[in-house]
Symmetry: D2
Amino acid sequence: MDYVYGPGKNHLFVPGPVNIPEPVLRAMNRNNEDYRSPAIPAMTKNLLEDVKKIFKTSAGTPFLIPTTGTGAWESALTNTLSPGDRTVSFLIGQFSLLWIDQQQRLNFNVDVVESEWGQGANLDILAEKLAADHSHTIKAICIVHNETATGVTNNLATVRKLLGLGIVCASPKALEASKSAKSVRVFFDWNDYLKFYKLGTFWPYTPSIQLLYGLRAALDLIFEEGLGNVIARHTRMGKATRLAVEAWGLKNCTQKEEWYSDTVTAVLVPPYIDSAEIVKRAWKRYNMSLGLGLNKVAGKVFRIGHLGNLNELQLLGCLAGVEMILKDVGYPVKLGSGVAAACAYLQNNIPMIPSRI
Amino acid sequence: MDYVYGPGKNHLFVPGPVNIPEPVLRAMNRNNEDYRSPAIPAMTKNLLEDVKKIFKTSAGTPFLIPTTGTGAWESALTNTLSPGDRTVSFLIGQFSLLWIDQQQRLNFNVDVVESEWGQGANLDILAEKLAADHSHTIKAICIVHNETATGVTNNLATVRKLLGLGIVCASPKALEASKSAKSVRVFFDWNDYLKFYKLGTFWPYTPSIQLLYGLRAALDLIFEEGLGNVIARHTRMGKATRLAVEAWGLKNCTQKEEWYSDTVTAVLVPPYIDSAEIVKRAWKRYNMSLGLGLNKVAGKVFRIGHLGNLNELQLLGCLAGVEMILKDVGYPVKLGSGVAAACAYLQNNIPMIPSRI
Amino acid sequence: MDYVYGPGKNHLFVPGPVNIPEPVLRAMNRNNEDYRSPAIPAMTKNLLEDVKKIFKTSAGTPFLIPTTGTGAWESALTNTLSPGDRTVSFLIGQFSLLWIDQQQRLNFNVDVVESEWGQGANLDILAEKLAADHSHTIKAICIVHNETATGVTNNLATVRKLLGLGIVCASPKALEASKSAKSVRVFFDWNDYLKFYKLGTFWPYTPSIQLLYGLRAALDLIFEEGLGNVIARHTRMGKATRLAVEAWGLKNCTQKEEWYSDTVTAVLVPPYIDSAEIVKRAWKRYNMSLGLGLNKVAGKVFRIGHLGNLNELQLLGCLAGVEMILKDVGYPVKLGSGVAAACAYLQNNIPMIPSRI
Amino acid sequence: MDYVYGPGKNHLFVPGPVNIPEPVLRAMNRNNEDYRSPAIPAMTKNLLEDVKKIFKTSAGTPFLIPTTGTGAWESALTNTLSPGDRTVSFLIGQFSLLWIDQQQRLNFNVDVVESEWGQGANLDILAEKLAADHSHTIKAICIVHNETATGVTNNLATVRKLLGLGIVCASPKALEASKSAKSVRVFFDWNDYLKFYKLGTFWPYTPSIQLLYGLRAALDLIFEEGLGNVIARHTRMGKATRLAVEAWGLKNCTQKEEWYSDTVTAVLVPPYIDSAEIVKRAWKRYNMSLGLGLNKVAGKVFRIGHLGNLNELQLLGCLAGVEMILKDVGYPVKLGSGVAAACAYLQNNIPMIPSRI
């Protein structure tokens, strides 16, 4: 039995963890296997090739480390940097804050550039710092692509233009850096992976068999839908959500359009409302999970995650729910207004499902 | 991989098959077992007791026949009637039509009372027939409780008042009838079940192990939510759907309020629209499954099933989808109007989820 | 949680229900779908074609009736015969007994040919009856291919030689018969199916979505292994089991080699042992499910089902378990003797797994 | 579909990953949830309490770090030690070797005590080192409890007697050490966990929802079987395996009885056989996964893992398989001999399953 029962589907609209497609759940529903049999290396080889397609790289080297995002961050830092190295890091919300904390505890010399929460990274300051860095003391620029606490997406293309390089999965340059990086690491060490990649057995320690099969199914689904279509679907849902927020007369925590995120929208509530109450109501009355406001924006924003295995009608159910909750907590929303605004846009923009034409 | 892929959840809003709760799917996800071991009879014993609670009967005898609804109909008829017996049957839509066809092919003498599709059973005529039946030739009254083709729910309480009896699962009276019923049956024969009920092994032939565990999980969920709450949730969703239909300026196929169904709403479309096109669009563009109009109402109605493991936000996603589809096919709907009408009602009537207060 | 917990795998060795392959369980682990969408008919069309390959027929017409084996029997009988028709039926064990009971209750004129339990159908008598039947009163010959109560497989090729015809799924001849057959049936009526086959929607009533996907996965597995290899695997396991029984110094209930079954072996126990005690011990101490002796052979035989998703090492675990149980109940078995005999045969006959060479 | 198909169950007998109970697989077969809802902390609180029961501690503090065993090692080391600290580490096989490598790369001063592979840790040398350590330079003693490469279990009770302390999960002493430990860590840092334990939200970063539910189900199963019974079952299977090895005339890689492992047996093969060929055959012909010999014992041993969700009949199937494989590769085994030896012991020692008496 589930831990806390509620009828119907739970409407999961946090920016993570996200909804998992049923074929992926099915693929993971299996007993363990010997990861040293010929089957797992053969499968891993294909997975690594296919993951590179998602990163749109042919030169990169992907690592499938059995950990969460926080561990992946640590892996990226410790494999490319040495203690004492200077990093320029942008503090724009809770997740960039946590990342900066990690960098500091890993003993890097972190040059923090702070912006008001709701703004993107200040790239003018970055340009200044780079210009002033005649002796090349800046070893890394740490920038959260999508700050889920405030719904801000930073423009990495501009960052890259400033730098003239591209870092995706582990670029050849990152791999090169990992040879001389002096940060202490074992579990996260790319070199152990590379050793086993060369041997063709691929795994320095036991992988999660279930996650490998889940990744296989997830990649198949992405290729079936088309990576471009997946991205377009997220863009569409981000736009629809923002139109609803506008129709409700509420403000987006993200201060400029150029920073709008396709995957999460942080909504500012009027001062007389505690946004935590909205999240609580969603869960207690409507079987919906919304994202809390964190740290500096606690109580001030609630967040709608619109990413993962979601489609437009699911999102519209969420938006209708948010309208009722806003009314519940005393905000004078016009019921149907946000849904109508989202529908007006979506009805003109949702494509036919290719496999069903 | 799924047969025809679409991103996100499929929005299943046909009046059957219905959405299955995840705990039930999980419970069914298991290998077979020996049904002659002590475990299965012990489990079956409890299941039969608990099924009686759903039928709100203590005197009734439930049968769990491994078949579909059509087979259950046949079971009910052949176990209580003999060829040539007179039945009064009400023809009010596609499913009552199919049932009457079954009765005729099983060689009963079927006295058909037809109403216009969209109306309920004509109980005045039933009263007349009963009054005129001095020699008690009427052996059964066959009335579809919920005609899903037209969204009509018949008032069984009134039928019972006319008759002075209650038929639920197999009432003692039905069981008595099964002893003398001369209809030919083997697979559906209740007497084989009764023999094994007495032996305490319960199964005259191999049951579906998976369905037994699924039933167990389903009953547990119903008891956890509370049967009254389950019914209230369906009533609420029926009401919300009808309010949306009204807001769209469309007519309900069900002609009078007394016949409104809690589980399905058949919506009449204007003559210049083919309702099949609505169902097709729902599936091809919005990953939603709506019910077709059948037989006499083909092309004229589409149906929204609002039953099973569903909650209000799921329904609102469906209603928002229907609005976009109506616009797609040229009906001048005001986007958001139906959702707003449903929300205005629901926001005042959805209770807190008891386990989450 | 499971109903009656035991550590490790349950060893399921009854002749039914049988072990389900994990990919089939995974395929069935899904929510419902609208069976009227384009996806289900497209899938059903392929399923029907592929099922014909399993029946090795191109002229036959398969029916996927949502029922158990008992219902399938009823379907075959009522669609081809009329009340009063003469059938010749062979009574050789519990399952042929149940089938004859069904034929009698469906009002056929059943000419029963009984053999001692443990023998196959007496085909000499059949030859005599056919020779004497100048006026062609025999409308059907009903012969259980594999009598699981006694582990007897009848030689259908010989039966066919006597008759000069082939009955597989519904042969064209059987379909022809269904047009004039007067047996009352609705749920089981092939004609309803045929009507929907012609329409291309395939289903006269709601199918089990889960079972369709399960069938798809099962067919894929059979084609991947190769139907011939599936059959050879069963033959191998039947042979291995009989060698073990012989090594234990016990007799096979099946009296002649020509009747040995590839899928189940019924083992006779000495008179001082109650075979039900063996089955009970298997379940209570070893987490194994063996088949009981039924009716005439109750207490005298226990049955080892060796069919479905099983391989040789699973069978050897079962045989080792049976040896311990035999010792438990006082039979002076030499531990390891049956396993050794089975291994000596299997070690020379198990092929490499083709996908792993 | 599976990656590399084989009929029947895969017989998984590697010392890890191990067989997962079906109820655990079922529990993990679920969509994500918001880990910040009230449900997950409530569940986590109970999990932590119940995990302590498995560690048989009331004073300890468990950490559920989303990582594999290698990560858990790193967590234990970096949270209690500082770079330069002296550790005494015992090298007795591949897994202790990997652990020592980790300690060295984490910059501890590792005092390695090597034994021949197949022997346990040399505790005499430990006693000498401790006696000589007047200035308390030894900060930790690193001893692999169960060296799965050679099937050696070290006697931790003796180690504890030498030391006068008990380390299980994180003892109060270990927690105290974590406050001053200077090893660099973030992802693995216990202090982040402790901070969230205090807040009652429990998770410093996103946990795997699926693994939490799986752990819940696994704990329930252990409590249902009884922790003592789980351990006794493993002891029984270890003993049975060793009896089979002896009956085959082969030697155990583990050199003394006091080091025998309940969970894995490493079997030495004669010099004219390559043990890798045995593992390969098991997989290619019998759908069985055995453990390879690693590093120093590569080609010389194969390993039978007998742990996790296994019962005796599964093990006997494995042993019968090993006998056939030994014959396949030219070793003159007497078929049935190992199974017989194991059965003779098991038949007297397997208890009734308590829930089935």
